[in-house]
Symmetry: C2
């Protein structure tokens, strides 16, 4: 029941605490024999070094913060897994800070950096106009994942959203679509902006202006239904829809169904992220997949390096991939 300390171990092994410490940390020379004694004392007492004493002494918490807008969207699950595995491999623990939108919570989480409970942070929710991230980055090791703020000097890992969006737009053109809709979002994420820019740029070259509608900040299913609905109710209704997230794309399919439109026969729908949902429902979604786990890994590696003082801000871009499935098809020829 009572947890044992380093001095308990020292007493049990008949050595000094310094020696025990040396054994635990594998630094300093210790004879085979004493090491053996110490190890068995440790086993016997089920000793675990108390982290507070260690942290106090070493001046590090071995704890990382991970800011994530929400945790329900499966998109984040793999990123988080990548971060956590990498952290653990470097002997760091991670603390998930969910719902960065709520100001109070955010502030409280950030305090953890100030009072020494955490050594650095990964932000997965950096808005373009974020003040919080630059402020934190000025004082502590910080890395951004997926999204990043306007201050380019702060490290970030993401895919190249712009060229991914260009690929999607080109694909839609290649299917013969000319009336193309874009379902974006009102949030201030850089991915939102870049996907829109990429899409517009390609279509502009083909002299096409996309019809645009915007879902809520949180990519909610229902706001996807609404936004796509706006587009589908126009008389110059699009024959293809590029949605900046899979959840939105699922909403778009629902909006189509409600209007008696078949996907993909009457309407092509393309999503983004390739979350689990994408294959769960009919038709399975054509979408862009991101290397989420690797993104988490890369972000965490960058952070650890920064904590070790080995490097400052960097940008890393990871490869994406278009996944062709059932929700997209060649434009039906008017008969």
């Amino acid at each position: 029941m009572t947890v044992s300390t380093i001095s308990d171990v020292a007493r049990e092994a008949g050595v000094s605490v310094a020696t025990v410490s040396r054994v635990i940390n594998r630094n300093g020379a210790v004879s085979r024999a004493t090491e053996e004694k110490v190890r068995s004392a440790i086993d016997k007492l089920d000793y675990q070094p108390n982290v507070w004493g260690r942290s106090l002494r070493r001046g590090e918490s071995r704890m990382l913060l991970v800011f994530v807008p929400n945790v329900t969207n499966p998109y984040y699950a793999n990123i988080i897994a990548g971060i956590e595995d990498t952290a653990r491999a470097g002997f760091y623990n991670t603390m998930l800070c969910i719902g960065g939108g709520v100001q109070v919570r955010r502030a409280e989480y950030l305090e953890l950096l100030h009072n020494g409970r955490a050594d650095g942070a990964v932000f997965l929710d950096a808005a373009l106009d974020s003040k919080v991230v630059p402020a934190a980055a000025a004082e502590f090791p910080v890395v951004q994942g997926s999204e990043y703020c306007a201050d380019e000097s702060i490290s970030h890992v993401s895919i190249d959203n712009r060229s991914a969006a260009e690929e999607v737009a080109e694909y839609l053109l290649s299917l013969g679509h000319r009336q193309i809709g874009f379902v974006g979002s009102t949030n201030h994420f850089i991915s939102t902006r870049q996907r829109r820019e990429g899409c517009e740029a390609v279509l502009r070259r083909a002299d096409i202006k996309p019809l645009e509608a915007f879902a809520d900040k949180d990519y909610s299913f229902l706001s996807g239904v609404r936004a796509a609905g706006e587009l589908l109710d126009r008389k110059d209704r699009p024959t293809a829809l590029f949605c900046i997230s899979d959840v939105l794309a699922l909403g778009a399919i629902r909006a189509a169904e409600e209007r008696g439109l078949r996907v993909p026969e009457d309407l092509t729908v393309v999503g983004f992220d390739d979350v689990e949902y994408a294959t769960m429902f009919r038709p399975m979604l054509t979408t862009v997949s991101q290397p989420c786990y690797e993104l988490g890994q890369a972000a965490c590696e960058l952070l650890l390096r920064q904590i070790r003082g080995e490097g400052a801000g960097t940008a890393r871009f990871l490869p994406h991939k278009m996944i062709l499935r059932d929700s997209s098809a060649r434009r039906a020829v008017e008969s």
Copy 2:
């Protein structure tokens, strides 16, 4: 950039560290004048008490562990929110331990209790035959939420799964169904067992033996499709399906679609949990809702009480509610 300590503040304010400590912790008497001096010194130096020193001294970490099987299932999101809000209100932080299934991770998380990084744990993933939970409970404050292990002496908060399942079964009978299927799971959760027992008990009284099939441990959508499919392929095919989770119910609907069966006209499907999905797709799911946020609150309150030494193991049951929507209907009369 350099973080200031309590002695910096003391020096700045021209008082002793003890006085500063008194001001911070609002204990011990301090004159208005000195308090003022100390406070302005704190502001000036942007001082935050270092948590390591404090924890080391007080012998508490003010950190709680939350073990959750996964984080993608929206069922957990609200429970977690309830736990976190309650924890924060009591000046505790929480650390999410995701994926208790992976043995290694679990062990590493449990170490946090031993080495003093956490003061207690909420388990949302206690299997009936869990060894880990009783072991942890023997040494540390522990509470279980939703699920609980066979050792009844360990605190837990949940709904009364058995009577909820009875209600569902009675509802199905009241709709005129006589061929009733049960889609369970191969996991070892007590909720799984109790829902099955409740269903069987009611049907037995009506001299009906449910047709049963079992999805994977993780309630995955695809395993729901498979399990429900088994039942629907029988020649004595059920006209109603009770699924122990909403995701499974969604899978059942998909299986029905694949066989050209309409829900609810040809097949009634009832889920469990009332997650967000339940209303996202057509038909909207008839299901049983759980007071998730409150469940999280209650579990955390119990844990905090236990940490304070105010109470040992208790069981708390929260009310559930059947939600009638579009996926259930009176049995079609054979014509």
